[in-house]
């Protein structure tokens, strides 16, 4: 089979996978709505930091800056939901991953497409939040460099891809160790603190900031948010995106290696 034919063969099932995932997302839209409402951490953090800024700004952040920061953070978070580590752990433990192994498509793709298929529904649900946020933030608090606007979708997607590939690597560890959920939880905890989700990273003390901005989590939330708010120059944004995609590549390779080793020794339960 030629390389072209192989790519075509890999792409053929995608529309179907997408339709299945989309139907799934529509069927469970109530759940998605509750998930949306439960993602209120950035709003609570906004209330906290707002109370702080009411007594005087912190660095460059006054009340308006905190408002812009946490509203954009909320939107980024709402569009990036990833749960594949939990999903894989469950499927490996109860053996249902076997049905994925039988399908003529690499399970990485089927996981990715199930997740991507939920985007339209999530986008529709997030749209009102975006409108209200845009109205509350105002044009003066976002970047006026059109090149950064063009980069934003790349950074947003990159943040999702980074989160997804990291999750995938953790999910693949389930082949070797049952309690990977503890690792997934630690990953999520580090994400909460070190991605800029609850504290803008630039408010960390300089020594901590120097380390944190280099870690993968910063490129999930902070990078797209700073890009949109115009906190960085275009050149700085570019180098952050380069780092973001380097991490994505690295995690994907790790996940693929773990997968190959793991599937070989996997016998499901009762095996």
């Amino acid at each position: 089979m030629s390389a072209g034919a192989r790519v075509a063969a890999a792409l053929r099932p995608l529309p179907t996978l997408y339709r299945v995932g989309f139907a799934d997302a529509v069927a469970y839209r109530g759940q998605a709505l509750i998930w949306l409402l439960s993602t209120n951490t950035p709003l609570i953090m906004l209330l906290l930091w707002n109370a702080v800024a009411a007594e005087g700004p912190v660095g460059r952040f006054g009340q308006a800056e905190f408002r812009a920061y946490f509203l954009v953070t909320l939107i980024v978070r709402l569009l990036q939901g990833v749960w594949v580590a939990w999903e894989m752990n469950m499927e490996v433990r109860d053996g249902s991953i076997a049905s994925r192994l039988l399908k003529p498509i690499h399970p990485f793709w089927s996981y990715a497409f199930e997740n991507i298929a939920a985007w339209p529904v999530r986008l529709v649900m997030t749209a009102p939040v975006v409108v209200v946020a845009a109205w509350l933030i105002g044009a003066q608090h976002v970047t006026n460099d059109w090149r950064q606007w063009l980069l934003f979708p790349v950074a947003l997607f990159g943040g999702w891809a980074l989160s997804f590939s990291g999750n995938l690597a953790i999910g693949c560890m389930s082949f070797f160790w049952q309690s990977t959920l503890a690792i997934a939880e630690v990953w999520f905890g580090l994400y909460v603190v070190l991605s800029g989700y609850i504290v803008p990273l630039e408010l960390f003390p300089p020594w901590a900031q120097a380390v944190v901005v280099k870690l993968p989590w910063a490129h999930i939330v902070s990078t797209p948010v700073r890009l949109l708010l115009g906190h960085d120059t275009f050149e700085q944004s570019l180098s952050q995106l380069a780092a973001q995609w380097t991490y994505i590549a690295a995690f994907t390779v790790v996940a693929a290696l773990l997968w190959r080793k793991g599937v070989q020794r996997y016998e499901a339960f009762g095996g």
């Binding site: 109530g30 759940q31 509750i34 998930w35 409402l37 439960s38 993602t39 209120n40 951490t41 609570i44 953090m45 209330l47 906290l48 930091w49 109370a51 702080v52 007594e55 005087g56 912190v58 660095g59 309690s179 503890a182 939880e185 630690v186 905890g189 580090l190 909460v192 603190v193 609850i198 504290v199 408010l203 960390f204 003390p205």
Partner: protein, 261 residues
Amino acid sequence: MRYARLIATQARVSFLLLLQYRADFVISLFLAAFWTLSAIVPLLVLYSDRDSVGGWSWGEALVVVGWFNVLKGVQSIVIQPSMNQAVEQIHKGTLDFVLLKPADAQILVSAQRFDFRQLSDVVIGCVILGYALATLGVVPSLGAVAQTVVAFASAVALLYSIWVMVMSLAFVFVKVDNLTFLFQSLFDAARWPGSIYRGAFAFVFTFVLPLTLMTTTPALALLGRLAARELLLAVAGAALFILVSRWVWTRSVARYTSAGG
């Protein structure tokens, strides 16, 4: 008395389960410590910039965090496991077996399972409380301790009542896992001192979803800063919530027609 013995029996069985899964307990202790530390990071950043926010110093804010952890632990040991099981029983129709037993169904349902693995949150909450008091150099007076006990008991009663009401919704909607998930996420707001919430949020978090009464009030009591009037308000609020939740539960059971009914 009979009920006390009943609850003690259930608790003993659950505790034996904890001893069986010791490694799980160690992991959960580690995770709870990790989560608590990460939740404190905003406070660390905040108080490196200034000494007080909304009238709360670093040590005082930590007292609130400590109570939040203890309360969260109590919730996941005592309240949540039983409530989740009740939701499942309603869903499957096996609640009938509980209702048939010759004891008060609400007590039976509320005390059917305890998860002592979650003790970790209580342990870590106590460590934080101790650390905060040491930082502040405060030794609570006997009166303050008495007030704290009352305030914390009210907090547990409030939290329990809210869970009973959410659980009762399962009689109508059947699936309420998502609702409990939503409540959990809102409960996180109780980690910060009540005075940071202003305007409409202050109202909601005091009267509708009384998060302020759950953590800020016990914290003020421990610091000896709670006015008698506020303590009375907390107790009255808890009593009211207990009554309302009891009413909601009895109404829901009266309407219950079992699965397929």
